[in-house]
């Protein structure tokens, strides 16, 4: 991996919107190498979408610069749009077209000939299991189906870099699995560089090679999931359901992280696990689980 060229070089990126007083992005720097599967995590409003829009040249940063394969994206917009396939978070732009028309139209916009666009349309629809919806108008699709269509549209033209803003949003578990599998294949078999924003840290952990965590517009953590989890390895995550609105009384060495709608998440040192097991019968709590740190814990820890 270290020998591969940089796809993205993000240097000192800062952005402040006129409408709000807070910074959307503050002095963000990181690099993404060719063929890497890079994830961006962060709570709502952390500045993830602003960051990737700057990486696409859709928003101009106040400070800093973004290079794509060594070229400044603002001075090379044609190169950027040819190289990067972008799946936005917001509503689908081609709602009045049928599924097959939307994919074909997008392939055409990406410069494919009529024949090649038709071929890629059929390939993408099959790949995402949308063949049976081919003649349905996009606005009549369910939220999940439309999300898959957006992904199909993004894949047209086979751009070497994919930037995906919450690609598994609104998808049911089996469709989510299908998308993660597809993305892994695109990354490993075709060598595509993938940058994605997700809130689904647990599922993303299976495919992401490196992750950046944003908080209040700043990049607070960057590294491989294993590296980021290392400081939390001495911690154990405890979760269970507790009837009642308030967290149950737990020993001092157990740190309750959240208690929402009866779902309690707490952390304790792995050295204290046996002590807790002696003091309390945790199995009496419904849905009791205990596990070592996940990427989600890292995310919770930083966010």
């Amino acid at each position: 991996m270290p020998d591969r060229p940089y796809v993205y070089e993000v240097e000192g990126l800062s952005k402040k919107y006129k409408e709000t007083s807070s910074s959307a992005n503050t002095d963000i720097s990181f690099h993404i190498r060719e063929g890497e599967f890079f994830g961006l995590l962060g709570s709502n409003g952390a500045g993830k979408t602003t960051l990737i829009k700057q990486m696409l040249g859709l928003i101009r940063p106040d400070h800093g610069r973004v290079r794509l394969f060594g070229k400044d994206i603002l001075t090379n917009p044609r190169f950027t749009t040819h190289t990067v396939g972008y799946m936005p978070q917001n509503a689908f732009a081609l709602n009045s077209l049928t599924v097959r028309e939307a994919v074909y139209f997008s392939a055409h916009l990406r410069g494919l000939s009529t024949r090649a666009a038709r071929h890629q349309r059929d390939e993408c629809l099959q790949l995402l299991g949308l063949d049976h919806l081919a003649t349905k108008v996009a606005r009549q699709l369910s939220g999940g189906e439309r999300r898959l269509l957006q992904l199909a549209v993004t894949l047209t033209g086979s751009p070497p870099v994919l930037v995906l803003d919450e690609p598994t949003n609104e998808l049911d578990p089996s469709r989510r699995r299908q998308v993660w599998t597809l993305l892994r294949q695109l990354n490993q078999r075709e060598g595509r560089t993938i940058v994605l924003i997700t809130h689904n840290a647990v599922e993303a952990e299976q495919v992401i090679e490196r992750v950046g965590i944003l908080r209040d517009g700043a990049l607070v953590a960057l590294g491989a999931p294993a590296e980021l989890k290392a400081p939390l390895d001495s911690q154990v995550r405890l979760s269970f359901t507790h009837p009642g609105t308030e967290a149950p009384v737990l020993p001092d060495y157990v740190r309750v992280h959240s208690c929402h709608r009866g779902k309690v998440v707490a952390f304790l040192s792995s050295a204290d696990v046996s002590k807790l097991a002696q003091e309390m019968d945790l199995t009496c709590f419904p849905e009791f689980t205990m596990n070592t740190a996940t990427l989600e814990d890292v995310y919770i820890n930083y966010a």
Partner: protein
């Protein structure tokens, strides 16, 4: 589609036609071509404004901006689509006006070019309003207000002799005045130097609005001057 674009011009035809009949055939010609201009404004400017505003608010601009296409191509494609869609309303209004007010139509060979040039400034204005308005409601209201003002300010549907001098003077800055005048000439087959001058002015308005729209429309970020020099 035809119905909505025809309704306002035909109502205008009927209302103004009542007065125009007693003022002579020239006034009737103004009413017919003014109503055709109104059909263009309703069908092209208002619909393009709504469409661009819709694209801006639904993120469609982002979809197109992230594709390897130029913003000018998107503007042209939208203008072409809505201009074509306005043709039925334009034709129906012209024919109804001709029958109602007894104005014989003798379309000149310059009519297609004249129609094209009459459509362009209103389409450009619609694109500008739509791409800059923060909401679809605002874009529609602003475009409608502009349409009404363009119809009222100048000899568009009423001969200059029947208008206050101030309105005639303001009309020199209104593209609808030239669109109506050029259409009047090419629909009645009287294309001469004046009609060509009108068309030249319409072309100038079109170029100015094109330049304004293509630079002011939200699209990809542009490099700052200092960044551009550095690269």
């Amino acid at each position: 589609m035809v119905l909505t674009g025809v309704l306002a011009p035909v109502v205008s035809l009927a209302a103004l036609g009542l007065f125009a009949r007693s003022s002579g055939s020239e006034a009737s010609e103004y009413v017919v071509t003014g109503s055709v201009t109104m059909a263009i404004l309703f069908e092209t400017q208002n619909k393009i404004a709504s469409n661009f505003s819709f694209m801006r608010n639904t993120g469609a601009f982002e979809y197109y901006a992230a594709m390897p296409i130029r913003r000018e191509a998107l503007i042209l494609a939208t203008l072409a689509a809505f201009s074509l869609l306005s043709l039925p309303a334009v034709t129906v209004t012209a024919v109804i006006g001709s029958v109602l007010l007894d104005i014989p139509l003798h379309p000149s060979p310059l009519l297609p070019l004249c129609l094209f040039l009459a459509l362009l400034p209103s389409a450009g204005l619609g694109a500008l309003i739509g791409s800059r308005s923060p909401s679809i409601e605002q874009a529609s209201s602003l475009s409608l207000a502009t349409t009404l003002l363009m119809m009222a300010l100048g000899p568009v549907a009423v001969p200059p002799a029947l208008l206050p001098e101030a309105l005639v003077w303001i009309g020199h800055f209104n593209p609808a005045t030239y669109a109506s005048s050029a259409l009047r000439a090419s629909l009645t087959g009287r294309t001469g130097g004046a009609a060509l001058a009108d068309m030249a002015i319409l072309a100038t308005f079109s170029l100015a609005l094109w330049a304004l729209t293509s630079t002011r429309m939200h699209w990809r970020a542009r490099p700052q001057r200092s960044t551009a020099k550095r690269s």
